[in-house]
Amino acid sequence: MKKILIIENEETLLDLLYKKISKDYTVAILRDSSEIMDKIKEINPDLIILELNMPDKDGFEIINDINAENIFKHIPIIVISNTGQPAEIDRAIQMGAKDYFIKTQFNPSEVITKIDKQIDNIKNN
């Protein structure tokens, strides 16, 4: 089963994402951004779902850190945007994120559709 890493600090959203995604995938969770690269190395995920608005280190910095490591930069990232501002989403996409969710708009079925799409891309490549 493919492994999905969710990096999110909001407990309720985390519970809901876990409930939905764990039906089809193995799910690992990170609630804070400390020692994040070590944890990614340990988990070795096939896909990362990343909250942009993390405390301490924001999502953009985390994307930069991931891109800086040759062994990780191929991992597709789907970002979670709190504001849905096009500038924020464009920036994440330009930095290499494959897709995005807008926190106030996404629904459970959309989450699964977008994850499946990225996982299919990995299988086909």
């Binding site: 809901l16 939905k20 709190n82 500038a87 106030t104 459970p108």
Partner: protein
């Protein structure tokens, strides 16, 4: 059937309760804002505080809707018919709350000139299809057919996709909201030389003849709309008219004449009807 444990329902209720209290305060704010608008008074600090609260409310509200939706879908255990009915009502209320918050945020940005536009080529067909997906729950609940008469070729307009999405979302939401169960909402496109015309038609309750001139005014809601859905803000059409005009386009409505199936077209009026078509135009991307 094993029903949802009472503890789970109580937990859900407590999560909802705090947000509904904020919702009540936002409705009071809306009333105050309405009074201030008509008396031309300003109260910036209160405005900013409520705006911040509205913004902060979006994220927990989204969690509430998710939690309700997953619970309704049986992800946390089977729910009885009665529980599903109540959870469904809570889900709809959370949706109304979400709409109200969006209206508050948009009208405030509009008033303060902070509604920033990023014009770029927009595939209108893709945008319509994406926006329609937001209504899958509601059309299923009301057994309404939501149809897009999709053209064979893609059409590119020049605009701000997020803002055009607000316009589409608002018109489709209104059309579904004011159409009785079993009705039909149709989206179609009419290419012209300079502009693309987008139409959203419904088989709904229509707009009373004597109130049609006011339909795009700030805070205005027609009597039959208030009767059917008491909770609206009356800001949606005012906001989207402003958005369309910023694009150099035009928005109007026409009334379906049921006997002849013709449309009686007018910028601010028409025949009292059962069914309305909203039209707006956008410039092509050249």
């Amino acid at each position: 059937m094993v029903s949802l444990p009472v503890g789970k329902l109580v937990e859900l209720f407590l999560r909802l309760k705090s947000s509904f209290l904020i919702y009540r305060n936002l409705k009071i704010w809306l009333l105050v804002n309405k009074l201030m608008f008509f008396s031309k008074k300003e109260n910036n600090s209160k405005n900013e505080f409520i705006l911040m609260a509205a913004h902060q409310l979006r994220s927990p509200l989204s969690n509430i809707r998710w939690a309700l939706k997953l619970t309704l879908a049986g992800d946390f255990g089977a729910v009885t018919e009665e529980q599903a009915k109540m959870l469904g009502r809570a889900y709809q209320s959370a949706g109304s709350m979400s709409g109200l918050i969006d209206d508050i945020l948009n009208i405030s940005k509009l008033d303060e000139g902070k509604l920033v536009y990023n014009f770029s080529p927009v595939s209108i067909v893709d945008l319509i299809e994406k926006t329609m997906q937001l209504f899958s729950d509601e059309i299923s609940r009301k057994s309404i057919q939501l149809i897009f008469e999709k053209p064979s070729l893609s059409i590119s307009v020049k605009g701000d996709s997020e803002k055009i999405k607000i316009v589409l979302q608002n018109l489709i939401d209104n059309a579904i909201r004011y159409t009785p169960e079993g009705g039909k909402v149709t989206i179609s496109l009419k290419p012209d030389k300079m502009f693309l015309e987008v139409m959203v038609s419904d088989t709904g309750i229509g707009i009373p003849l004597n109130q049609q001139k006011k339909i795009f005014e700030r805070f205005f809601r027609a009597n039959n709309a208030i009767e059917m859905c008491p909770g609206g803000s009356g800001l949606g059409l005012f906001i989207i008219k402003n958005i369309i005009e910023k694009h150099g386009g035009r928005i109007w409505f026409s009334s379906l004449d049921e006997s002849a199936r013709n449309t009686l077209q007018s910028d601010a009026g028409g025949k009292e009807n059962k069914g309305t078509i909203f039209h707006f135009t956008l410039p092509y991307n050249k």
